[in-house]
Structure formats: structure tokens, C-alpha cells
Amino acid sequence: MTWAAKPTDSVPPALASFPEDEHTEPDRPWHLGAGAPFVTARMRMQARIVELKQALEMARPLELELASEELVASGRVLSAQYAALQHTPHRSEAVMRAARYEVKLFREAAASLLAESMEFAFAHSNPRLLDALCEHASVIREVLDQDLYLHPESRPGSER
């Protein structure tokens, strides 16, 4: 079962293996100076996902809309930092592989939570929330485009 198929989890398993304080683990590839903005963007994205999940669990439509807006904003930043990482000189393939995998996890996690949120909006007959969530789901698909991470090792269905 992929993480995206189990939306009750708050954090992708791959992220659980990364330390909370990146700066205490100098041998992590993320600690290279150029990777720091990506790490920050990743942590923000993770925090937004947790917030969206909490808003959904508490069944609060306004917070849900706000959290999904912030998730989209964080997705844009993550995408931009991933692109910046790609253009960093001397970056290692290990760093890029890990970054691609994380972008993929975040895309799936965001899509899964937004779909759950839309289910909530449908069930509670909230068309305003539904429209906002639909828009956000489309934007997430666009900014975390599959081309960002799709390559032989990370194609869906071939995860280890």
C-alpha cells in the first residue's frame, strides 16, 4: 500500500527516516548548502499537510479552505526549490533522487488529502469549499507535475 492510499497517516514514511533537525546530521545529502532551501520548503509542505489533515479531522470548513490554500502556496515553493536544486552545480544524483521521491510523495499526499477534503465538501453540501478545493487540486497537479519526479526508479508502481 502506498502512503497516498492511506491518508490517515500524517507524514510520508520516507520523511520519517529524516531527522527533525537536519543540521545535526552532517552526512545527510540535504546538508549541502544548496539543498537547505529545499529542506525548508519540504518541512513547510509537511507542516501544511499536517494542518490540512487536522482541519479535516476537526471538520472545520473555513480552516480547511485556508489550510488548502497554504498547501498550494507551499507546493509552489517546493516546486521552485526543487527546480533550483536541479540547477545547482555539483549536485549529486543521490540528492536529486531523494528530492524527486519526496516531491512525488508530497504530490500524492496533497492530492489524497484534497480528495478527502472534497469528499467532506460534498457530504456537507458546501459548494464554495468544493470549488476552492477543486481549484487547489488542479494547481497542485500543475506545480508538482509528474515530470518533476518521473523517471525509471520513481515511476508509480515501481517503488521499493
Binding site: A5, P7, E57, M58, A59, A111, S112, L114, A115, E116, M118, E119, F120, A121, F122, A123, H124, S125, L130, L133, C134, A137, S138, R141, E142, D145, Q146, P156, G157
Partner: protein, 133 residues
Amino acid sequence: MSERNPDAAIPPGRAESSIAFTRAMGAVETRCAQIRTAIALGKLDGIEHLFQHAGNVWLAGRTACRHLHERGNAQSPYCVSARELLRSNGTEILKLIDLATTESTELQGILRDLRETLTRVMKEQFLSSPEPR
């Protein structure tokens, strides 16, 4: 789809997945009808928004269907017909994407990601396995 699912074990604060599923499928069917009309009239400007909306509400419906599947009896007539309807509507969106992209090559790039997402999701085990006869 007339038999109501009891929506066993609904998390606190959450509404019934069966209601969400029914409404989501209704929304998908409405969007598909609008897309068919737009294609027939050759009005392809902005059609990608209709597709994105159809795809997103279908994904919401699939989440609701999966919840029904997980919380209830997967082989109950309600769950079986819900999966059938979900598959049928997903297939319809994919057919319409194919139709629209033959009319406009520009739409191919715009709708590629949505098409790939829906195609991948349609292959999920709970959707792709044939129903017992």
C-alpha cells in the same frame, strides 16, 4: 444505487461517504455532459477547466467509494454498484479526454497529467478487479 450503505465506523465529525459519493458522481456526470456538448459544438476554449473539475470530483468520489469499501462489506450490492459507477464514470472522462485531444493537439499537453493520474488510479486493485458474478 438505491440501497443505502450504513457507513459503518464513520469518524467523528465526518458525514456519510455514501452521500458524498452520490453527489460526486452526479457532479461528474454533469461535467461530462457539459464537456460532450462543448466538444460537439467545437467550443474547446476553457474546456480544460471542465476536465479538471470532472477529474477532481471523480477523485473525491473515488475517495468516498474507497471509504465505503473499507468501512462496509466490499461485496455488498451497494459497494459493488458504487465501484461499477465509479469505473464507468472514470472511463467516460478518459474517453472524453481522448476525444477532445483528437480535436485539439494543444489539449494533449494540457490534459496529459490528468489523463495519466486517472489512468493510474483506475488500475488500483479495488477498482480494477472484476466483480464476482
